[in-house]
Amino acid sequence: MIDPFATAKIVFAGPVGAGKSTAIRMISDTAPVSTEVPWLGESDSDKQTTTVALDFSTVLLDDETTLQVFGLPGQEHLAFMRPILLTGALGVILVLSANDSEVAESCRAWWTALTAEEADLPIVIGITHSDRCPDFDLGKVRAALPSDRGLVPILTFDPRDAEQTRQIVRVLLTLLLHRG
């Protein structure tokens, strides 16, 4: 019999350019398998590539168990990938960019899309690029979420910093552990 708990899965979701692929790379044991192509978007961005299907990597827990880490593509026309990759996921880390002037609205839209796939999916929200955005308002992002699911962890982090990225995963695990 196949043990479903011999493999666990977490998923990074969010729009293009938020930092999902970088975050996945920071926590992985293996080099991620990415479907990246050259970025042809705004030229003032540091971004040089973008993911067009998915990111995948693993974290080895012990000899028997592997954590699979998936990154959902951010493009709307690849939204059909969501139910496929979210099936069986322990939880989701939704990565958003503070550079997006409509980050609160984007947060609400992604929240709605993800919870439509699975209503009680544990979700932690990680916001990147906040250090160079003096106008960024975490209160507005908090207020954008519906209150019927209790308190949702929203944290700012730098996906290039392995410790900060691990902290986001720790918060997700804390949610899961407290659910029992």
């Binding site: 708990f5 168990t65 906040s130 003096p134 975490l138 209790g150 949702v152 982090f157 902290q167 918060v171």
Partner: protein
Amino acid sequence: MYATTLGLPEPLALRLRIALKLQAGHGYRVRLSDSVSAQTDLVLADASVGDHLTRLLGRARRSCVILLFTDQDGVGPNGVRTVARSKPLTELQPLLRTIFDSIREQGSRPDSSENAGRQGALFQLATKTELDCPNLRLQRGETRIILRRWASRVLARSYSEIISAAEQLNQPGWQIEPMHQAQVSLPVDWVSRSLDGFLIRSLRSGESPPLPVVADTPVRLRDWPDLGDADDPLALQIAALLCNRAWTASELARECSAPVERVSSLLWAFKAGRLLQNAQTASTAVVANARPARSTADDSRSGLLARLARRFGLQGSTT
């Protein structure tokens, strides 16, 4: 704490003495006397002492709390709280605890005479209601920062200035002024960091005077703290607990096996970040314990989560 009883009938005086002794369970050592002095925190008097009370209170300090025992609960002359003489021990004990909690919190406020000018900015942010505004400008010597409290951000000219400000935050000498909407034009070249992480970082500075212990009243989180760059496993553990139900500082200390002073400091930081709200009563541990009977699949899942938690360095993650 110093309490004084005046003119109480013996059965009531006995119940009150027991209730005062029981406060030791909440960390209050109460010294009882039959005369009012400048040290007196609480006066428990029978209404029959009448005008005599007013004269005695002339010797007490202004913040002294008075309970007047009469026929029923209510409010007496000069706004003094009245309590029924028939009140049983089971009701007197929590009533006194609430009063001592409020006295302790009041006494630890920076504007009380004994603490004036000695507390740092974090404590002032946590306790002064006039500082509960969207933006504050803080300055101490050459260090200048802007706190966007409602946005949960701290801004400065550089990261090093933010780190320096965090290290000084609990020292006295900060000038704190609200920025009115008209004044607010946020400098575009300043860097911005998590306010919650900044406040927690400030607790590590060994040179700062210790913060007072918070009142042992139940509190819970209003919002999850932004702990993305806060390297403090206890802060995460406490946030997760406060998210589910209300806890007192002493309950959290027991649950996390941490010193109550450490827990208390983190609660002050959460309070300064506008993250905490008082709960009237702490719910029992029903939420945490009321899990359905575990199946084999639940056990496998718990084992998996425990291994994941260990792998990612999550402390206090027993399942």
